[in-house]
């Protein structure tokens, strides 16, 4: 649903004629009223697949990709339709956690706007027609010339099947040009490790064994193929007390990793190199520190701390930092003796990593020379996303014909001669490799809903072959594993040999690195531009997904939009307010983009942050016309510098930051330093050392003693604010996306939201907020129809069919977690889109209140039949950092009981006497006492 989709917006006015017409229609329907009894149909199988039991879910191991690397997943299937994605608990790169984009992928599967069949110049054609014009028997130029004139543009991939197909292609067409999209590959990291160690390598961080970690503009806990595992390790080291990890984040934008760090030091992205060099200079003799290092005092303190933890620390460089910073991070880790301990290196799992295949210049030269007759672009959208210096659209147009394989009619597909439907990940076979090299199988959960293909399948077609994708995976598995295909598919992955290497550092590179770093320090009045793939929609790949578009962005709570983010002080200096449209012009270039500004507390001054992936011109109805396309400002490497100019225009932005504000006496988000926590483990505010006396009966009153007491505890020390839980809740509970205009009116439907607080010192804190299932629930007292009541096991439940929509409960809820259906958000969808609904949950109609149920459908199922892997709510299951505990509080051995017994557990708005069943564990940080930027309890 797009924000301008009119299907659920009421008619602006109802004229007399249309009113009479509608009345007559209604009367007619009443007269023919017996139609109400028209029976539903029951449609059984003709031949029932033996593994399917209607009404019961099956789980299959499969995989998602992040930047080409695999993440193991489990997918729930009910009667053959995929419903819900979870992380694979045994897969080393998931460990049961997922991110929001993995969770949301089921919505895209059923999207009505997917390309359905091959198209030639916009007209639907058959695959046979495609084969006639592209099959190997057709008379085409590149066949006779050993592939000269044939070019392929592919996304970075770790697919074993693709490797085999490319080998076959190269054998048949040795002169074909194969390019992997360099902009979405970790090319700076490869170049950096090549300079530091002599060969391009992938970096694996082990936070389970590190005591200190430094993130250099790296959102490592949320972004990238190893983030889920990193977040899990990080979370396990956040338990207050001895053995706590300490993290430092130097970054321009406000990221989840920075917010979660013990020290977050705002640093423009262009200054990270100098900072890394200064760290190295402090730790290693014979390195001279550079000029103009930001946070010089802090850098010395960090260096001392790292020095005291040699071999037990880690330095992580961010994906978008230039190669020199990656090289310095590698040399820092080598200096600190971390290599082989907390930081390990291995050959990249991506195909042809760091080879010439990631350099598009040969292809571009050939295109410029009109030497390419067939350009095939698979699963990439370079016409939209490539940096303008590639001049991709213009060059692609010089090819005699272009073929694009895409899920939606995106910019590349629209400009290509042939647009071929690309299969959804849940429709594909594959064998991919995780970031740590684990071979991970991908099996389809459903027969393809469209007549599509994959990059592997497309290459097979170009070769004139049509092998079954299952056979291809079987062959790839047979090459690598002793196990049979069925065994591999049932487990989802198999262990790979440890391929980590211990490279020899090359400190002789240092002078040239220092020179490069020094050259970057420029003193002009331009701002550093931090262009980041959006955490929700990526570089536009997931812009078709309404759940992700409506997910409030972590640092701004902005939905359905992007913006130029500035530090508030910078905005005051420039005389700008939130929503003012500015023109961003590339320094020394003519590219310019107009987009609204937004102030973000904590962002580094001298930095503009903007997200890629918005302003899509072509594609499905959800993606188009959302936000502004900032790719014109994109550069291949380095940090672009921009000039900013006010335009006098304004643009409305929909943010959820100021919705659902809680009125409070006591602090809602509690955090403290380790020392303060040791002195006062309850961390209660002064004057509230003991809980306020209650005039009500004892807690848990009126409940049968043998009933469970469902409760939840959320550890704020562990929450990174990644919002996987929000989307998991949305997928599990059929929560609709409502569009920008509705969100602007405060009508977003999320049952679980992540509130963003500024604590003392303008530090950001994230707090998941959901129905607190109060024992004395204010909502229940005011419901005139008893639609919201308490269950014997302590759930605050909603009976939708009793609700008449007075909204009294919403008004009386101090936590603002109740959501009202202003429209029939789910009605009128095509049948295919309705397949995403969880059949265990009612679809709510207009005029009904809803809210978090603690996933009561899962509770009831687990109570009766047990749940493999234990009962978990959707949010809890998705959380990569295990910040949520849920269970029966009457059992003192349950994790939730142990968490709630901790002194730092507190109830939000506990002073109201609502006795919430959800408790929060105050966040305890582990700051460096030698870094006196913050003091004591905040």
């Amino acid at each position: 649903m797009s924000h301008d989709d009119p299907s659920w917006v009421p008619a602006a006015s109802l004229g007399r004629r249309s009113f009479l017409g509608a009345s007559a229609g209604t009367l007619g329907a009443l007269a023919a009223g017996c139609d109400l009894h028209r029976p539903e149909e029951l449609v059984p199988y003709v031949r029932r697949p033996p593994e399917v039991v209607p009404g019961v879910s099956d789980w299959y191991a499969t995989a998602a990709l992040r930047g080409g690397y695999a993440i193991g997943l489990l997918a729930e299937s009910r009667e053959g339709r995929p419903l819900k994605i979870e992380g694979h608990p045994e897969h080393p790169m998931s460990r049961g956690g997922t991110g929001p984009r993995e969770q949301a992928s089921v919505l895209t599967l059923y999207d009505r706007d997917r390309l359905e069949a091959p198209r030639e110049d916009g007209t639907a054609r058959s695959w046979a027609a495609f084969a006639r014009s592209f099959g190997p028997r057709s008379v085409r130029p590149f066949v006779g010339r050993r592939g000269e004139g044939l070019a392929l543009w592919l996304p970075p991939s770790s697919s074993a099947v693709l490797a085999r197909r490319l080998a076959a292609l190269r054998e048949r067409y040795p002169r074909a040009t194969i390019v992997f999209d360099p902009t979405s590959a970790p090319t700076p990291r490869w170049e950096g490790t090549r300079r530091a160690f002599g060969r391009p390598l992938d970096v694996q961080i082990d936070l389970a064994r590190a005591d200190r970690a430094v993130f250099l503009d790296a959102d490592a806990l949320v972004e990238g193929p190893a983030a889920l595992a990193l977040a899990r390790d990080w979370a396990h080291r956040r338990t207050p007390g001895e053995g706590m990890l300490r993290t430092y984040a130097f970054e321009g934008a406000v990221t989840s990793t920075g917010v979660s760090a013990d020290h977050r030091l705002p640093t423009p992205p262009g200054a990270i190199g100098r900072l890394a060099l200064a760290l190295l200079a402090a730790l290693r003799d014979g390195v001279s520190p550079p000029e103009g290092v930001p946070h010089a005092e802090a850098v010395r303190a960090v260096a001392r701390d790292l020095d005291a933890h040699r071999g037990r620390s880690a330095v992580v460089a961010g994906e978008r930092q230039p190669a020199a910073v990656h090289a310095l991070a590698a040399l820092l880790n080598a200096t600190l003796g971390n290599v082989g301990r907390t930081v390990r290196y291995r050959e990249s799992a991506l195909l042809e990593a760091a080879s010439g295949a990631f350099d598009p210049s040969r292809l571009f030269d050939a295109l410029d020379a009109d030497a390419i007759d067939t350009l095939v672009i698979a699963d990439a959208n370079p016409v939209y996303a490539a940096p303008p210096s590639f001049r991709f659209a213009e060059r692609a147009a010089r090819a005699t014909r272009t073929v694009a394989c895409a899920a939606f009619a995106n910019e590349t597909a629209a400009s290509a001669d042939w647009a071929l439907p690309s299969l959804h990940p849940l429709e594909r076979w594959g064998l991919h490799h995780a970031h740590d090299g684990t071979p991970t199988a991908r099996q389809p959960l459903i027969e393809p809903l469209v007549d599509g293909t994959t990059p592997e399948g497309l290459i097979a077609r170009l070769l004139g072959e049509d092998p079954s994708p299952r056979e291809a995976v079987a062959a790839a598995v047979a090459e690598r594993a002793d196990a049979s295909l069925d065994e591999v598919l049932s487990r989802g992955f198999f262990a790979a040999a440890d391929e980590t290497v211990t490279p020899r550092p090359r400190f002789d590179e240092l002078p040239s690195l220092a020179e490069e770093i020094a050259a970057e320090a420029r003193a002009d009045d331009a701002l550093a531009l931090d262009l980041r793939p959006d955490a929700r929609v990526g570089e536009g790949e997931d812009a078709e997904n309404a759940w992700l578009q409506e997910l409030p962005e972590a640092s701004t709570q902005l939905v359905w939009d992007n913006a130029a983010l500035l530090a508030p002080a910078e905005m005051a200096r420039l005389g700008l307010r939130d929503g003012d449209v500015v023109a961003l012009a590339l320094a020394g270039g003519d590219a310019s983009v107009r987009l609204p500004v937004l102030g973000v507390t904590g962002q580094a001054e001298g930095t503009v942050v903007a997200w890629l992936g918005f302003g899509r011109r072509r594609g499905g109805r959800v993606a188009r016309r959302v936000g502004v396309d900032v790719t014109p400002l994109r550069t291949v490497t380095g940090v672009p510098r921009v000039h900013l100019e006010a335009t006098g225009e304004r643009r409305d932005l929909a943010r959820t930051q100021h919705h659902h504000r809680l009125e409070h006496d006591e602090p809602i988000y509690r955090r403290a330093d380790l020392e303060a926590w040791r002195a006062n483990p309850r961390l209660a505010p002064a004057g509230h050392e003991t809980p306020p006396p209650s005039l009500h009966e004892a807690p848990d009153d009126g409940e049968p003693s043998d009933a469970a007491r469902w409760a939840m505890a959320i550890d704020l020390s562990r929450c990174t604010g990644c919002k996987a839980c929000v989307i998991a809740c949305q997928a599990e509970n059929d929560v609709p996306a409502v569009g920008k205009t509705q969100v602007a009116l405060g009508r977003e439907m999320h049952w679980l939201r992540i509130d963003r607080y500024l604590t003392e010192g303008d530090e950001v804190g994230f707090q998941p907020m959901l129905c607190q299932h109060c024992e004395h629930a204010p909502c229940e007292y005011v419901c005139p129809t008893n639609a919201t009541v308490h269950s014997p096991d302590g759930l605050n439940v909603m009976a939708y069919n009793r609700c008449v929509g007075t909204r009294f409960c919403q008004n009386n809820c101090p936590y603002h977690v109740r959501r009202f259906n202003w429209f029939d958000y789910q009605r009128g969808r095509p049948a295919r889109e309705q397949l995403v609904h969880n059949p265990d949950v009612s679809v709510r109609g207009r005029g009904v209140m809803e809210k978090c149920t603690f996933c009561v459908q899962r509770i009831r199922r687990a109570e009766r039949y047990g749940e493999p892997g234990g009962l978990r709510t959707a949010c809890q299951q998705a959380c990569p950092s295990e910040a949520i505990a849920f269970g029966d509080r009457s059992d003192p051995s349950e994790p939730v009981s142990r968490w709630q017994r901790q002194p730092r557990a507190y109830s939000v708005l506990g002073e109201l006497g609502t006795r919430p069943r959800v408790q929060y564990l105050a966040r305890v940080d582990h700051p460096n006492p030698g870094l006196r930027e913050r003091d004591g309890e905040r």
């Binding site: 149909e41 439940v797 939708y800």
Partner: protein, 213 residues
């Protein structure tokens, strides 16, 4: 101005009593209508694509309910048999003739038979066949004497009152495992208590989320 005509008193009374009758009668009438068997669909036969006769299959042939509706033991849904299951017999017996022609057509064309639902709980009710089966409630308690039905019809009202009546006092309706699909067993508290003991007590939910989620 003329005084009111003598009949005014009469018409005033008619209006008053008539109005009162309407105010009371319309809601009462609606309440009666919504509880009437006609509205609840009790006893109403639903036309099916195949003239399937439960009497014949269960009484004459002695086929157990679970032979066709075997999902009742492991799924919330009892399930309707696949064409394949029907053809398991009807490839051998009654493999020609008018009555089974739609079945053979479904098998030949690989097109499912579109049956029409008789027992239709509202979409916001999550009825669980397996839970009832495991709890010792047999088919007959809700579906009636299907073995005597030429065309299946509803015998019990599918209203919340009907559900709750049994959920509040389930014991008389409990049966031993071997009698779950037996027909013609009248409720018995003594038998039910023995079953409940064997099951370690039976406590069906009577709160909202037992059935509404």
């Amino acid at each position: 101005m003329a005084p009111l005509p003598p009949s005014a008193d009469f018409w005033l009374r008619v209006a008053l009593f008539g109005g009162a009758a309407l105010v009371v009668g319309v809601p009462v009438g609606l309440m009666l209508w919504f509880r009437s068997p006609l509205h609840l669909g009790i006893g109403q036969v639903v036309e099916q694509p195949i003239e399937f006769d439960h009497r014949h299959h269960t009484r004459d042939d002695g086929i157990d309910c679970l032979y066709c509706h075997h999902d009742a033991r492991r799924s919330p849904r009892a399930g309707v048999p696949s064409t394949e299951l029907c053809m398991g017999c009807h490839a051998q017996v009654w493999n020609e003739g008018r009555e089974t022609r739609p079945l053979r057509a479904s098998w030949a064309a690989d097109r499912p038979i579109r049956w029409r639902r008789v027992h239709d709980a509202p979409d916001f009710v999550f009825f669980d066949h397996r839970a009832h089966f495991e709890g010792g409630v047999g088919c007959e308690s809700c579906h009636g004497r299907v073995d005597r039905m030429a065309h299946v019809y509803q015998t019990e009202a599918s209203t919340m009152g009907g559900c709750l009546e049994c959920h509040r006092d389930p014991v008389p309706h409990l049966r031993p495992e071997d009698a779950l699909t037996r027909m013609g067993l009248s409720p018995s508290r003594a038998r039910g208590e023995r079953v409940a003991d064997r099951l370690g007590g039976v406590s069906p939910p009577t709160h909202c989320t037992g059935c509404h989620r």
